[in-house]
């Protein structure tokens, strides 16, 4: 089981809004595929998967804020 975590985006950025999930619970994802887009100021940051797997849980819905380091989804 692996976690998708909101990564460090730069100095002074403590949170971001989950803007768009490229996948749903139960979807198969591949290494390097887009998982989620996060918005901070006027930037969209794409988070990709580091491994092949199935999305088990999405923990932050679109439109909600997440903090740096927060777990966004679980893949297994």
């Amino acid at each position: 089981m692996s976690q998708i975590i909101l990564p460090e985006l730069g100095e002074g950025i403590e949170k971001a809004i989950v803007a768009f999930w490229h996948c749903r619970v139960g979807d198969q994802v591949k290494k390097e595929s887009d998982i989620v887009e996060l918005v901070t100021d006027k930037a969209v940051f794409n988070v990709t998967s580091d491994f092949d797997g199935v999305v088990k849980e999405i923990l932050v819905p679109e439109g909600e804020e997440a903090k740096i380091g927060q777990v966004l989804a679980i893949i297994e």
């Binding site: 803007a19 918005v39 006027k42 969209v44 940051f45």
Partner: protein, 214 residues
């Protein structure tokens, strides 16, 4: 031949979607370790909506947009609704931020700085506006910024109004800010040589970033 010949790519007047595909291709190449790029172009009139953008900021009816041949596209950048039109210099830097600080805010700050320096070449004094992205001349906005980042490689970028028909901005509430837009042409009282503007911008851009070219 200049070392920057292959770094700056001038796409000319190009359909938004086509340029978007070229950006994505360039992003994939940079992620794979290929050379960084900056794409310069202008687009036929089009409205784009950033992620989380609110369509209420499109003031014109869909019928009017259709009549004018202006499409509305949802895109994966930050920010609200933006208008692109001929005469606007659109800049898509495809850079690996792992080589330039790995800091999104700092990167956007650098884009703003480049735009300010570019405008200075035309005798235009511009500034940031606290809390609002982009570049301003007083209460009027001249440069819009909205970026995307994938695996620390950037896409989307800047729209600088050079000779843009400012009347087109009445179709939208730019960036959802309710601001008036301006252009280099509007400030100087006459249109400027767009080709020269592209070259001037490219020179400032290349000088600003200490590129590690592969």
């Amino acid at each position: 031949m200049s070392k920057n010949t292959n770094f700056v790519l001038d796409l000319g007047l190009i359909d938004y979607s086509l340029a978007y595909n070229l950006q994505k291709q360039a992003v994939a190449e940079v992620i794979a370790g290929g050379p960084e790029r900056v794409l310069l172009c202008e687009h036929p009139s089009v409205l784009t909506l950033g992620r989380m953008a609110d369509e209420k900021y499109i003031l014109a009816s869909r019928e009017e947009l259709h009549r004018r041949g202006i499409n509305v596209l949802a895109v994966d950048r930050g920010g609200e609704v933006t208008l692109h039109a001929p005469g606007q210099l659109v800049v898509y830097p495809i850079l690996d931020l792992k080589k330039h600080g790995k800091d999104i805010k700092a990167y956007m700050h650098q884009l703003e700085e480049i735009a300010i320096q570019f405008l200075e070449l035309y005798g235009i004094s511009s500034s940031r506006n606290s809390g609002k992205t982009g570049i301003w001349i007083g209460s009027k906005k001249i440069v819009s910024i909205g970026v995307g980042v994938k695996k620390w490689v950037t896409f989307h970028g800047l729209g600088i109004n050079i000779n843009t028909d400012l009347k087109l901005f009445s179709l939208i509430n730019p960036c959802g800010l309710g601001v008036n837009m301006t252009s280099v042409e509007n400030i100087k009282g006459q249109s400027v040589d767009f080709k020269k503007a592209k070259k001037d911008f490219a020179d400032v851009f290349v000088k600003h970033f200490a590129f590690v070219r592969t």
